[in-house]
Structures are given as C-alpha cells and as structure tokens.
Amino acid sequence: MRRLLRFALFALPLLSLALLVAWFALALAPGRDPSLVPSALIDKPAPPISLPSIYPDRPGFSSADLQGRVTVVNVFASWCVPCRAEHPVLTHLAREEGVPLIGLNWKDRPEAARAFLAELGDPYERIGSDPGGRAGIDWGVYGVPETYVVDAAGNIRYKHVGPLSKQDVEETILPILRRLGR
C-alpha cells in the first residue's frame, strides 16, 4: 500500500502534465466556436440590479433601465486588455447603430474606469459601478468582457463572452436586436 502511494506520488507530476497537454491540444483544435455560451439565464428575467454610476453626478444602473426597450449590457473593466480591443466595436454599436448601451464596470475602481473612458471615449448611456463584483455574480459573469442582449420585457436573450468583433455585431448582435423588434 505504502509503495503504491509512493509510486502514485512520483507519478503525479507526469499525470498533471498529460492532462495539461491534452487540454492545450483541445485549445488548438480547429473549428472551436467561442460564441456558443451556455448560460442559465438565457430567456430568463435579468437579475435585479441597482448600482451607483462611476460618475459622481450621473444616475446609476438599475433594473428599471432594462424595461420597455431592447438594451445591450456590456461588462467591462479598465484593466482588461480584450475590453480595449472591443471598444471601437461598442462605440460603433452605440453611436452609428443607435443601440442603447449600458455598462457594467466590473471589479474596477470608478476613477480607473473614468480614465479608461476619457482616453478611449465613452459610448455608454449609463454605467453601473460594481467594484466588488457582486452584481457580476448575480448575472453569472465569468470574466471581462461579456455582452448581454436584454429584450423590452427585461429578459436576457443572448450572451456573448469575450471581446465583440465587427463580425459578431454584424452577423449576430444586430440580427437578434432586429428580431426583438428594435
């Protein structure tokens, strides 16, 4: 028994490596579709939310903002590199397409978020500040960036994990918005 345990102990590093390599190999497999995201909240009401704004003098983000019109909620943080990458796409969505865009500033300091937006421009209609990530837990946020489409009744209809590309917007987000009657 002891010998077996001992052997297992010395075999452990090899086993871990095997698992890791297998996992990495999967990462390289062609045809992965990163946009297919299982979310328990699809077609369910968006979790109640009430957050102060990142700006001291502006209204925050609450559940009422999601009622009566189709909205897009984007989870972002100033420290997040992919968020920088998707920023122009979001700006296009809000400014050119006129989509009401609401920001959920996740695990971030309001000052840092303000600096981030001062540098890149602020496409959001309103931004809720969630420094502790509590609201993010309710919404099932994995990490940043993430984007949700919420219908006029306040139900989450679509979730995108990772940075939005121009293609994602043209081929997925805009058709969904049109279908939802925007």
Partner: protein
C-alpha cells in the same frame, strides 16, 4: 547570399545537435570515453554554426535586405540602427534563433568550464542540451525559417511595431531568453542526474550557478519589461497580470524556489528529488510560456504573430521534453533517497516553507492565467480575470514569504531555535512597528499598505541584521568587523543584497499602488492643474517630427520650473499611434503626464499620475540582479568545484 549562408549554417547546426544528443548518451551508457568527449566538440561546433546563422540574420537587418521575408515584414530603411539590430529578434523567427544561440552559448560554456564534472554526467548533460537544441532547430526549420526569401522584394519594409522601438525592449527579450535557456541547463542537469540515478552535493553545486544565472537574467528581463510597460504603454501601471507577463513570471517563481532548494541539496544533501522536480517544472513552465505566447491561444497585449501549427509543434516539444523527464522522474526519483534529516524549525525548514509558498504562488498565477483558456475550451469566449483575482490570491502569499525571508537565514541548519532567532531580530521588529506607526500617521488607516510597509521594514532590517551578526558589527572591534566583512563570501553578500532588494521592491509596490493619485481632465494651453502638491501648467501643444514619426507634443511647466513633454506619436509606415509619457522622477515619487485625444478648440485630454516610491520597484529589482551577479562571482563558483574523490566510483556504479 547571406541568407543562404545563414540557412546552411542552421541546417548544419541541426545535424550537429542530433549527433550531440545521441552519441554522448550511448558513450556514457557503454563507457566509451571518446564517444563521451565528442559532446565537447559538438557543443563547440554548435556554437560556431549558430553564431554564423545569428550573425547572418543581424547582417540582413543591418543592410535592410528586403528580399528576405522576415526583414521586409519587420524592418524599414529609416529605422534607427539600434532597432534595426534589435528588430532581428523582435519577431517570432528571429527570437527562436536567439534562443538557440543562447542555448549553444551555454552548451559551450558547460563543455568549457565543466572539466571537473564526472565525465558521464557531463556527457549526458550536453546530450540533453543537444536534444533540446534539436527540438528547437526542427521547430525553426519546419515552421519558422528566418531566412525565407521574398519574391519580388519590396522597395521598403513594413517597419517594426513602434511600441517595440524602445531601448528597454531591445534588451528585454534577450534577458528573458538568457533566463529560460539557463533553466534549460538546470533541466539538462536534472535529467542527466536521473539517468545517472544519483543526486549528490557535487551535482547541486553545479546546478546552482546555472540556476542563479538564469534567475538573475529573468529578474533583469522581467524588470525591463515592466519598466517598458510603465513608461511606454502610458497606462500608469507597471504590471498588468497579462498572460504573457505571467508566462515569464511563473518560471521566475520556480527558479527562485529552485535557487533556494538547490542550496539545501548542496549543503545538506536533502530535498533531492524535490530539487530535481523543480528544475524540470521551471523549464517546463518556460516552454509552456513559449507555447502560450506563440500559439495565440490567449489574447494579450503582446502576442506574437500566432499560428496554430506552431502551437502544435511547441506543444509536442513540451510533451516530449517534460513528459520524458517526468517519466524518468517517476522511475528513478524514488531511489534518490531522503538525504540529511532535519527538524521542522531549521534553515532547511525555512527554505522548505519558501519553496512551498513560491510553488503555491506559481500555482495561483498558473490558474489565473489558464482559467480563461480552460473556460474558452469549455465553450466560453476569451475573457480576463485580471488584477482583482491576483491581488486576492497571490499577494497574501507574499506576506509569510517576506516574514520568513528575514527569519530563515537566522536559523541553524538541521535544528534551529525560532525564539532565539526572533529575539535576534528585535531591531527588525522595532522597525516594522515604526513603519506601521509612520504609515498610520502619514497616510491613515488602511490595512494593506500598513502590512506592506511593515513587511518591507522588517525584511530590510532583518537582512542587514544577519549581515551585522556575521561580521560581529556590534560586539567586536572595528578591525575585527572589517576583517570579517572582507572574508564573508560574496554569496553571503549576494543573499543580503537580494533580500534587501526584495524589501525595497515591496515598499515600492505597496506605496505606488496604495497612494497613487490620478487626474484625468481636458486642458487647453494656459490651463493649470494641481496634483500631489505640484502645480502643472500646460504651455502649448505643438507638432514635432521624429526620425520615423510625427507627433503632437504637449509642453507642461511645473511650479518648480521643470518642463515635461509628453507626446502622441503617429508612425508613418504602420500608421500606428503611440503615447509617450513624460515622467519626472524625484527618486521618491514619479510624476507621469500623458496626452490623449483633443484639438485646439476643445482642449486636450490629459492624464496625470503621481506615484510615490514607484522608482523603488526597479531599484529593488536592480538590487536583486546585483545580488545575483555578486553571488555568481563567488570564489566557490569561479574556482571549479573540487573534483570529487567518488567520481570514478560513481561512474562504475551506473
């Protein structure tokens, strides 16, 4: 012509590495001296061939030969000379060539300076190095030939990414590679020891300088990278927990652990299989970092041009090199034996704590870096968990580490007296209390910074106390102390300096992240703003022209009369925008100005940061590097390790 010569040398080098990886191994198994000695000649030949190839690549960049695809893609005739040269390794193919060049350099160094090694061990070490070299040569020739021709040749090149045209970054990759490749030497020693089936203090004595060299280079490389991020990216930060940063940080953590455990293996012949495992893992993490960066599986600020085919190749290399070593480990390590026993409270015990904490810290970084990837494979997209995760998991583990770093050196080998050690550290304790009070008084109550500053004071005074005790600074005459100070080995000074550097670094990290002040505002010429007691006036914003860019340059005047000129550069060839921060450092704090978008009518977006003690981060890193160099120059390492009387016997045993 030069390109063909380089390619030819590279192919010959690949063949040489195949021979270097096989002939000496067979020789060592069959005890054929001539076959074993072949390793030396092969290593030297390898160095000459790879030097020729590397020299050819640099020449191609210097002469701007755009008929070579790599040069056309990464260089430009108007680029300053320094960046023409550094452009040779600022890309995937060239950096691989730099990798094998350093590998060959180290191989030749082992062959040249390893005269005192047992012949079988040396032959096997060089053979393992040859095999690693073979893997990388094959990688380069199969997927990333740096000498590939381009037809027709363009009139001018595509230029190097302007963010990378920077002196800090010119030397950042070579330093990191010195570190990674140094770890490959430790790995080669570990595999050779497993093949031999024995690890003894003589082995550990050989592994330590290589690990130390690797650690020193990695420290310097990471510090340069972080310095570059600080002043070039202009985000006011110096560490972003970016996957690529983490990819270099994990091997550093393991190299630090290896450095400490190898000293136990050397001095006390203990923790042997652990040390061997650490050497394998440290190199494994270097390879994994290469995989993450080159395969494009993770999104990052500085991912190289990525290609899944290359990713698969590096992954196969990782599986073979580390898998092979771990199979050997599984079979041979149980027989390595326990070695010297020790009490939990002892120098060994403290070093074990160091190792456990560093490994756990590396594991948290590993999880945080790979979690997004795992999520991605499980069906999610690419997300980032970012600083909040690392601050909550990694930082708390550094607290006991810094505490133990002062206590460990005070404990005796085998069995130490913790209470006595703490008693001797009373001055450090006092310093920590004073630091707490000073922080509370100056900056108010916040638990994080108070702990950070107390730790820095504790570790700094603790490190000096240990040195003072060894030189009997208090209690002996001045002459006696001086004599002792002179005779103290350089390695001891190296440790003191490195620990002191860590203390300075902790103070810098704590202060700069806790008391950073930040202002973002729109300013028109004539406006002024106050930050951290300094008044800054924007005098003018005007266009300037550089060698390969144009820029809008803001001119700020401080109330002290100093000028700060941040720029927003637009590089012609690639059409990229970069921000050049203006930084004024007083040694105790940095004032950082960045200019953003804007125009004459509405004014310009200006970001200002005031970060206390931020220069101490790099001062601390510099002290750690100097500590490493000092330790490397120790007499014990310069004079070849004494030939072990047991060498022939050891050879006979295998």
């Amino acid at each position: 012509m030069i390109a063909e010569l380089g390619l030819y040398a590279l192919v010959l080098a690949a063949v040489t590495s195949l021979l270097q990886g096989t002939v000496p191994l067979i020789g060592a198994a069959r005890r054929r001296r001539a076959w074993m000695d072949f390793a030396d000649h092969a290593a030297l030949t390898q160095l000459i061939l790879v030097s020729v190839a590397f020299g050819c690549l640099i020449a191609l960049f210097v002469f701007s030969d755009f008929s070579v695809r790599l040069v056309a893609a990464n260089s430009h005739t108007q680029k300053p000379m320094l960046y023409k040269v550094s452009g040779a390794w600022g890309n995937h193919e060239g950096s691989l060539l730099l990798w094998v060049f350093i590998l060959a350099l180290f191989g030749a160094a082992v062959a040249r300076f390893g005269q005192a090694l047992a012949p079988t061990l040396k032959a096997r070490v060089l053979a393992v190095q040859g095999l690693i070299g073979l893997g990388f040569h094959a990688f380069m020739l199969a997927t990333s030939n740096p000498f590939e021709r381009l037809d027709p040749a363009p009139a001018d090149g595509n230029d190097l990414n302007p963010l990378l045209q920077d002196p800090g970054l010119a030397f950042h990759p070579p330093m990191l590679y010195l570190g990674y490749v140094g770890l490959s030497v430790a790995y080669a020693f570990a595999v050779a020891a497993l093949i031999e089936g024995r690890v003894d203090p003589a082995w550990a004595r050989w592994v330590r300088p290589w690990t130390l060299a690797a650690w020193t280079a990695l420290t310097a490389g990471i510090a340069l990278g972080s310095w570059w991020a600080y002043y070039e990216l202009g985000w006011g930060g110096w560490w972003f927990w970016d996957p690529v940063e983490n990819a270099s940080f994990m091997p550093w953590l393991m190299a630090t652990a290896l450095l400490h455990s190898a000293s136990v293996a050397e001095k006390r012949d203990a923790m042997k299989s652990w040390t061997v495992l650490l050497a394998i893992i440290a190199f494994g993490l270097s390879l994994m970092g290469t995989f993450l960066v080159r395969s494009g599986v993770l999104t990052s600020v500085h991912t190289f041009a990525s290609d899944p085919g290359r990713g698969l190749f590096v992954l196969a290399l990782l599986a073979i090199a580390i898998g092979g070593a771990l199979i050997l480990f599984m079979v041979r390590a149980p027989a390595l034996g326990q070695g010297g026993l020790f009490q939990p409270v002892s120098r060994e015990g403290a070093l074990l704590v160091n190792n456990l904490l560093l490994s756990a810290a590396a594991a948290t970084v590993f999880l945080g870096t790979l979690y997004p990837l795992f999520l991605d494979i499980a069906g999610g997209g690419v997300v980032s968990v970012g600083p909040p995760y690392f601050e909550a998991t990694f930082v708390p583990m550094m607290v006991p580490l810094a505490l133990a770093a002062a206590v460990g050196p005070m404990l005796a080998w085998r069995r130490g007296d913790l209470l006595a050690a703490l008693e001797r550290l009373w001055l450090a304790g006092l310093a920590a209390v004073l630091a707490v009070l000073a922080t509370l008084w100056l900056k108010g109550a916040a638990i994080g910074p108070v702990i950070g500053m107390a730790l820095a004071a504790w570790l700094a005074v603790g490190a000096v106390t240990e040195w003072a005790e060894r030189t009997k600074l208090l209690g002996a005459s001045v002459g006696e102390s001086l004599r002792r100070a002179r005779h103290l080995p350089r390695a001891a000074y190296g440790m003191t300096l490195a620990h002191l550097g860590l203390a300075v670094l902790i103070a810098g990290v704590t202060a700069s992240s806790a008391w950073k002040e930040e202002r973002v505002l729109r300013m028109a010429p004539g406006d002024s703003v106050e930050i951290a007691g300094t008044r800054l006036t924007l005098e003018a914003v005007e266009p300037v022209v550089g060698p390969n860019y144009t820029a809008m340059q803001a001119r700020f005047i401080t109330d002290g009369g100093a000028t700060m000129t941040p720029q927003r550069r637009s590089y012609w060839v690639q059409g990229t925008l970069t921000t050049e921060a203006a930084i004024r450092s007083s040694g105790l704090a940095d004032l950082h100005a960045v200019i953003g978008e804007g125009d004459g009518a509405e004014g310009w977006v200006v970001r200002l940061y005031h970060q206390p003690l931020v220069p101490w981060i790099w001062l601390g890193a510099l002290m750690m590097v100097l500590g490493g160099l000092l330790s490397l120059s120790d007499r014990r390492l310069r004079v070849a390790a004494p030939r072990k009387a047991t060498v022939p016997a050891a050879a006979a045993q295998v």
